[in-house]
Symmetry: C2
Subunit: 193 residues, 2 copies
């Protein structure tokens, strides 16, 4: 029963289902059929819209990165001054949308995918660069020449906290994650002014 204009809805449903399925399975070794079933359609339809499993994964990854970017931008919107903006970037990185079990787990898996998949790698690089550039920009007036190193450290720490959250049992603790990264930031800023 074709309701026209199904394509965008189907695609979105598949992307959502992919993140959930990969997140729950904790692995990319999920079948297109599993994803499709969760999204309420046949695997044939999933192939019809995305062409291949690879493309489904890439779409899911884009979705995660877009969500992440949106949360950072959202947090940044109301922040003025370098320190506030740095805090906003960090807070945005642990936003309620991104810092969720399945999303974290899916993110980790897509991270691994980036080792093999050129396009996945590209996507990840774009976001890493953007984050580092944002951090560096706000850090410059506060820590001068150390900006680059601190930006890299913060980036790595954020990744590290994510990866650990992926392995921890129970719901990931946003507050605690935030605290760790924020304290790092504060230590680095201490000798400022």
């Amino acid at each position: 029963m074709p309701k026209l204009g199904a394509e965008p809805i189907r695609r979105a449903a598949l992307v959502k289902a992919t993140i959930e399925t990969v997140g729950e399975a904790g692995s990319l070794e999920v079948t297109v059929a599993q994803i499709a079933r969760r999204a309420g359609m046949s695997s044939a339809l999933a192939h019809h819209y995305f062409g291949s499993k690879e493309q489904i994964f890439l779409a899911a990854m884009r979705s995660i990165l877009t969500l992440y970017g949106a949360e950072v931008r959202g947090a940044l919107a109301t922040a003025t001054g370098p320190e506030a903006r740095l805090r906003a970037i960090v807070a945005g990185s642990f936003g309620v949308g991104s810092f969720r079990r399945e999303v974290i787990s899916a993110w980790l898996n897509f991270y691994v995918l980036s080792q093999t998949q050129p396009e996945a790698r590209r996507l990840l690089h774009v976001y890493q660069r953007r984050l580092r550039s944002n951090l560096r920009h706000e850090l410059r007036p506060l820590v001068g020449s150390r900006a680059e190193a601190v930006a890299r450290g913060l980036g790595a720490l954020i990744d590290g906290v994510y990866i650990r959250a992926a392995l921890a049992e129970g719901a990931p603790d946003r507050r605690y994650a935030l605290k760790i990264v924020t304290e790092y930031l504060e230590r680095e800023l201490e000798g400022k002014a």
Copy 2:
């Protein structure tokens, strides 16, 4: 042509080949046949000694974690005093044996495996706890009540630096990795004494 006492040699060869294969492929989706070929034997023999692919992976993971532990202990052997010991732990974490392309990549993949595989998870937990406990122990006299938080931060940062190295192209830069983590440590220690 059975040379007796082949078992330990074969097992070691398979473990080594597994790390190399997984590291190069950047994925756990490698076949037992690939691993076995690289180790110079048939896939049947690999199954004969390990029983299953899963067991092969676990053996490889144990090997990585054992190597890591050995490097940390090695660095610790000559260090006296909390600060020197902390530096040793960090340095050991980026030892020449562990902080190598294939090993890092394999490590990342086994990390992901830990989301699914109970035994892999257990192994990782053991090592994470040991690291944190070591760090905490040396941190206590230096930062007091902050020891726990700093230990967690350091652990996460080390993981984060590893994970980023997995994605970076070219040979991983030990010196730079070490610098980032060491500086974090120094900042935390600054207000000491």
